[in-house]
Amino acid sequence: MSEITENEVWEALGSITDPEIPVISIVELGVVRTVRVDAERTVVEITPTFSACPAYQAMAGSVERKLREMGATGVEVRTVLHPPWSTDWLSDEAREKLRRFGLAVPDRHQGNLEGAIEAGQAACPYCGSSNTRQTNPFGCTPCRAMGFCQDCRQPFEQLKPL
């Protein structure tokens, strides 16, 4: 019988951060989907933000190492693609952490992804103004785009709505 509980696994995974956005954990990011612990096995399902996320393999490796450190038995880390990751999953708390990090997060689109992409804009992470424009729908990683605040005159990065 494994002595580790599912709650303890969730808590431990909450200490792993996204290597490219070190201010939030992979649990807050929505990458960790399910945790199942029984006598023989410890199975964690994770999902990529964007399919080509360059940090994804590092995150999967960190999950596996963390589970082994805890002494979990029958460790298995699986990738799932459904439901597809969404920026809507980010909690208000996570959004605030990202904003302080300098990364704007688009408002929740609640399924109207096309509308959110069309609008292509997010509030400035520095001054909070909505008077911004998107300067490039692509950025330094697959999950980011670039914007410019027309009030505080600062360029900034934002997460792409997904």
């Binding site: 964007f50 399919s51 080509a52 693609l81 459904h82 490039n136 729908p137 692509f138 997904l162």
Partner: protein, 255 residues
């Protein structure tokens, strides 16, 4: 359904997945050739991203293929011979000028939009789920390339003539996109994969309309019959050689 009924069906699905994965991989490689060379910085970033996204999508299909056949994605990519690749000829053509790259990506993105939407209806759950994931990300590509189609097609005399030249070069390859592999019909009957001929006809209607709006006209000729996917142009071999060069230097190296 989460598993396929028999070995023959599994092989047919795996064969089609290999085609889809190879299309994404080779197009990704061609787009990556612009990194550091695109006409403006924003496009350098955009096309590096598009290339990376397509690589991610290729990996999704290769991983699904692995779950069906056990074939390792790295072995498939780095240790196959050019004649074993199953990608479209359209995606292996050299990157050409910016107009050619943009137009090819537009043609592929519009095809993928319809293809992925149809794949979401597959009764084989892993294919439907993957298509849904990829489809969300692809919206960014299509918006981008459709904007460029319009911008260059209706831009200056030179940008229009370069786009028309690109279209004249690409169009003869377009019908291969909906050519189905042998026995594919069975997968359509069982609702595992979509009817490619029907999607091809919808796709052609769409692109003819949008090309016309951009001031471009497809030439009145095409290939008499679409080549099989094991037939390639002379351009694939150098691409594969370059892509596999490092992996083949030290075959047991870890990354």
């Amino acid at each position: 359904m989460t598993s396929l009924p028999d070995e023959q069906t599994t092989q047919l699905v795996a064969g089609r997945l290999l085609e889809m994965a190879d299309d994404e991989l080779i197009l990704s490689h061609r787009n990556s050739e612009w990194t550091g060379h695109a006409p403006i910085l924003e496009e350098d970033i955009a096309f590096a991203n598009i290339a990376q996204d397509e690589m991610g999508h290729a990996l999704i299909w290769y991983e699904l293929l692995r779950s069906l056949t056990g074939r390792d994605p790295d072995r498939l990519v780095f240790f196959r011979e050019p004649c074993e690749y199953r990608n479209l000829q359209m995606v292996e053509l050299p990157k050409g000028d910016w107009a050619f790259t943009v137009l090819r990506q537009y043609l592929f993105d519009t095809w993928e939009a319809g293809h992925l939407e149809a794949l979401e209806q597959s009764r084989f759950t892993p294919v439907a789920e993957a298509a849904q994931k990829i489809g969300k990300e692809e919206r960014y590509h299509l918006r981008h390339t459709a904007a460029w189609l319009c911008r260059l097609g209706r831009g200056t005399e030179e940008s229009n003539s370069r786009m028309q030249a690109a279209l004249d070069q690409l169009w003869p390859f377009h019908s291969q996109i909906w050519a189905a592999p042998p026995d594919y019909e069975r997968l359509v009957t069982e609702s595992l994969m979509p009817d490619l001929a029907r999607l091809g006809s919808l796709w052609e209607d769409r692109v003819r309309t949008e090309l016309s709006e951009a001031g471009l006209t497809p030439p009145g000729f095409g290939q008499p019959s679409a080549p099989l996917r094991d037939e390639h142009t002379e351009h694939l071999q150098p691409l594969i050689e370059e892509m596999q060069q490092v992996a083949r230097l030290e075959t047991e190296a870890g990354w």
